[in-house]
Every structure is written in C-alpha cells, then in structure tokens.
Symmetry: C2
C-alpha cells in the first residue's frame, strides 16, 4: 500500500499511534502497524535507556466506548519524568490526542464488549543520536494492547514477594537529582532482574528496600498496607515517597477514596517490621490493579478478599487523585 | 530495491550489521541501512532498557585494513553481561563474524586512510515482548560509526570532573546480583543524567562515588590514578571492582603494560582523598582513550602530558589484557 495510506488495525490486535511532527512542527498522531519496525538502532531509548513511559488502563463502558483511566495523573507524572530527564516530550494535549486516536482505532477495529480492557503505554525517548549541539528530536508513541480480564484466582490467592535490596541509600535522592528516583525512565534492567531473581527463588514479585533498611516499592507497583490503629480505626499506609520511589497513580486514587471513606492515611518511613501484624499488604499498579501479598520472604501474611475487593472497587471508581499525586506526605502518627 | 538485495553503505557513513537467525537457527550477519528503522516499539531494549552493549574502537593499519581493538576483552565482558542478565545473546563467533562483515563493508565503501577510526558498538536486547512462557528472541546488531581523530587539545588540557553520589552502597553488589553492577546494560539513564548535571555545573565529566564514600567509575569510563609510592616507585591505581563497577577493558590493557614496565599496581578501595597528592588522574575508555582530569570538584589537579602519552601508547599497543579482565584484585600496599 502507498506510504500515506492510513493503517487499519485488525480486530483484537495491538494498535500503535506514533506522535509525529508535521511540517509546521505540530505533533500529530498517526495510527501505524506495531508489527513493523519504527525505531532506529541509534534511538537513545534503546542505546541508553534514555526516555520515559507510563502504563495506564483503558476500559470499555456499557456502550463499548473506551476510556483511559487516571488520565490526569498519568500525564502529570509523565511531565514530571520529562522535567527530571530534561527531555522535551510532547505536551499533554498531544498525548491526549494520540490516546484518543488509539482508542477510537481500537473501537473501530474490535467493537469492544463492555468491560473490555487495554493496556495503554505512553513512551517518549530522547530520539536518535544526533550531532552534538543539535536539538534532540524525541521519539514518542502510544501502544494499546488488549489485556485479559483480571486473574481472579491470583487475586484471591495473592502473590509471594521477596524483600530485595535496591542498593540505594534512602538519603541519596534528596541531594542527588541525577539518580532520577522519582522519574519513570526506560532504564528498568534492574527491575526486570529483580523479578527474574524472585521467580527463580519461589516467589512471584518483589518489594525493594533501601540499603539503609526502608521499604520502597515493587519493580512495577506501589506498596499498600492496611492495619488497625490502637483505637480501632483503619489506616492505609504506603512508603514515604521522599525515600526514592515513584508517586503511585493507583495508590493516589485508593488513598483519596479511603480518606473519603473515613480511613486514616499514612505515608510512613516504613521498615520491614511494618509488614507484620497488618490486615493486608497489596501491590498496586494500573493494569494488574490491587494484588494482595500472601507471603513476604516465605512468611505467610493475611489475605482478606473483602478488603481487596474494597480497594479494587476504589481504584475502579477512578476518583480524581488530585493533590495526592503531588502533595506532601502525611506523617503516620502510629 | 528488492528486500533481498544487499545494502551497500555510502563512503564515510555509519554501517549497520544485523545478527539474524537463518532457517536453521544459525546467526548470520547482514549489512543493513542504519537510517531506516529496524526495531519494533515492543523491543525490550527500549521498553525496559533490557539488554547489553560494548563500545570498542577499530583503527585502520598502514594498508587500510580495519581491526577492532581488545576484541577478546570486549567479547569476554559481553558474555559476562549476558550471564548477569540471563540473556541468550549471540556467541563470540557470531559477534566476530558480524564485526568482520562490518569492517569489510566499511573498507569497501570508504578505503580507510591509515589511522582512520571507527567506534564499533555491539548491542543485544531481550527482543520483542513475547507471550509469557515463550523463549525470548534477542535482537542483536553491530553499528560501526566513523569517529574523528583524538581531540589533542582536549587531551592536553584535560577535563573537569564532579564527584557525584551514585546512591549505591558499596556493600550491596556483593549480596545483590540483581543490581547488575558488573554488567554493561542498556539502562544508562542515570549515567546520562549525571553527565548532563556535570555539564550544567561547569564540568565536563563525572566520577561516581558510592553512598558510603568510595570512588567508583565514570558514567562511561574507568578511573586511573598515578602516584609515587614512598620509596619512589611509580604506582597505577584503579578503584576496587568489587565495590560495584564495570571491569574496564582499557584499564586492563594499561595495567598489563604498566606492570610489564615495572610499575606497581593497586586495585584499591579508594576514597576521594586518594585523588589528592597524585601525579595524574585519567578517565579511560575505548573510543576516547586516556583522558587526563584537570580539576576535581573545581580543585585543580596535575596534568602531565608525558604520562598521558605513555598511558595512551600502552592502550594503543593493545596488549592482551589476559587475566586482568577476570582476575582478582591486587591489594594496594600503600
């Protein structure tokens, strides 16, 4: 077909949307075939892991219309990552147009059933290596991939995690912005190696700790902990972001809903002992949702299906996480 | 042109060699055009920085024949990186065939003058994301890019470095193989951010320190230090590899030659104070060579052009680094 013919995706196949600059420098979405190569071997996304990403969930409503969840939160964190990387990524309007083009292309190709789910991955790299001194020309795209319904058996059973040292001292991020600890970069080799290590040692996932002993995050998730305070009130806890972790968009939504439901919140500097004597521990992420932990380093921990369902319902309700994404931590008074 | 026509590179342009599997599963080199896309957006090299690389130097001899320097050392380190990443990368013979195909293609296209230089970058990624359970199918290529003659003005003047905290505790690598500190992975976002930070703060390059205060390495180089021992003998020092750094192939060559010339060697656990009262400090890497440091955190340090020339000549002589690449550290007795 001629190069300028629009690509028409097949039903139930991934859809790719490239963000391309037109002759006037405006960024335009173009639906393209994900099964053919679009990246050069000199792209700094692959030569240096130099770029950023966000992975979101889109769900079809009763009419089969797809909508990306937590749009504002994901685009806000993407902009923060771009600032940390000094990467001139497309702006929010360009990303929204690309996501919209992708969702509409999927609808046209697949007529999604109500509840049908897609992962929506936004990626921007520093672009092909260029002559020193010339402006970088980022490469940016959105990839939409059908994902199956949540694995209810896994959600009931829970996952086994290992606590693995992330090697980073928790005080480093405060004075060392080049460590990019708050940015969601493409340099995930250590995250992937940690997951392989866990799977080779009888576990399913990982909670990282700092070298000075604080709980951090999962390789692709945020940690949530529920417990009762001494006065009997529920409290939802998550590790302190300033210790060098990503601001979790799912954690922010669940926290906002828990607060509205009268729960206390705590962003603690947490240690492994804080995983004991709890009502539940979860790994929260956009596509997998709220996944209960059933064992930490081989020690069983309670799995409460009712609590899991409640947290997942809060996430699915997709309340605007608002100021929780960029707000200050609430100190645990426990 | 038909898809099976061999690509013929233009003179003085980069040459790409893809390592492709034939119908019998054998890996074959194919010369290809680096200016067209060859990677999918789902390649885990870009989605997760999940892959490895080596950057070597090739130089033309008097007859214009190109040879890659430190071939054994680079292929040895590449194999170590593949093991650390559990990545089924092509074997040494396949890489050698691809490098050879690339060098011959450059010779045919450009008839290199004696001393002409190329950077030779070997890259392997975990390949496109596949269905869980299916074997990964790595993507691998060699990119050969002409590089100018060494910048003699820079080599005389030296570079200004900042000491920047790498955030990693030096004891972590011993018990945490998932940190991949000895592997040369594609996840270099922090290395690039550190270089940007240095350049935004009046410096040219970086020497990383561990969070517990040990000297590590540059973002793309190994640190060498020359000094006189109390008895007047020369000593060449480099930070202890076990503290979480790459085994430097250039450092290994220079060390082997220095040893042969009667210098003492030391792989020290070094601290910033070890950068004081020295005869010289260098950043060593394959393409840039041995680059003297003229200032550390704004404090001037001696630049000795005679010493630099000697170290560079040792590197250019390309002696077999042999056991120094994988051997045990020699404890400094200073």
């Amino acid at each position: 077909m001629p190069a300028d013919s629009p690509f028409v995706p097949a039903a139930h196949e991934p859809v790719l949307v490239l963000l391309e600059q037109d002759a006037h420098g405006l960024v335009r979405p173009r639906v393209a075939d994900p099964d053919v190569p679009h990246l050069r071997v000199t792209d700094q996304g692959v030569t240096r892991g130099d770029g950023l990403f966000e992975t979101a969930l889109a769900v079809a409503d009763e009419a089969g219309t797809l909508r990306m969840r937590k749009l504002r939160a994901h685009l806000g964190r993407l902009a923060s990552s771009a600032t940390a990387l000094r990467l001139p990524a497309p702006d929010a309007a360009a990303w929204e147009a690309a996501v919209d083009a992708g969702l509409r292309a999927v609808e046209a190709a697949s007529r999604p059933a109500p509840g049908a789910r897609l992962s929506v991955r936004l990626t921007a790299t520093r672009g092909p290596e260029a002559t020193p001194g010339t402006a970088p020309h980022p490469t940016a795209w959105v990839l939409l991939t059908p994902v199956p319904a949540p694995d209810e058996a896994e959600r009931r059973a829970g996952v086994r995690v290992l606590l693995l040292d992330r090697g980073i001292d928790s005080t480093a991020p405060e004075h060392a912005p080049w460590l990019l600890t708050g940015a969601k970069t493409l340099s995930y080799a250590v995250n992937m190696a940690a997951l392989r290590h866990a799977r080779a040692h009888g576990a399913d996932d990982v909670i990282f700790t700092s070298s000075d002993g604080f709980l951090l995050e999962g390789p692709t998730s945020t940690v949530l902990i529920a417990r009762h305070d001494p006065d009997g009130r529920r409290r939802l806890l998550t590790p302190l972001r300033q210790k060098g972790i990503l601001a979790g968009t799912s954690q922010a939504v669940v926290f906002a809903a828990a607060h509205a439901a009268g729960w206390r919140l705590g962003y603690g500097p947490l240690i492994p002992a804080d995983l004991e004597d709890v009502d539940g521990i979860w790994l929260a992420s956009s596509v997998r949702g709220v996944l209960p932990v059933r064992a930490v380093d081989g020690r069983e921990t309670p799995v409460d299906p009712t609590l899991t369902a409640r947290l997942q319902a809060w996430l699915d309700a997709d309340g605007d996480p608002g100021h929780h994404v960029s707000g200050d931590p609430v100190t645990s008074d426990a």
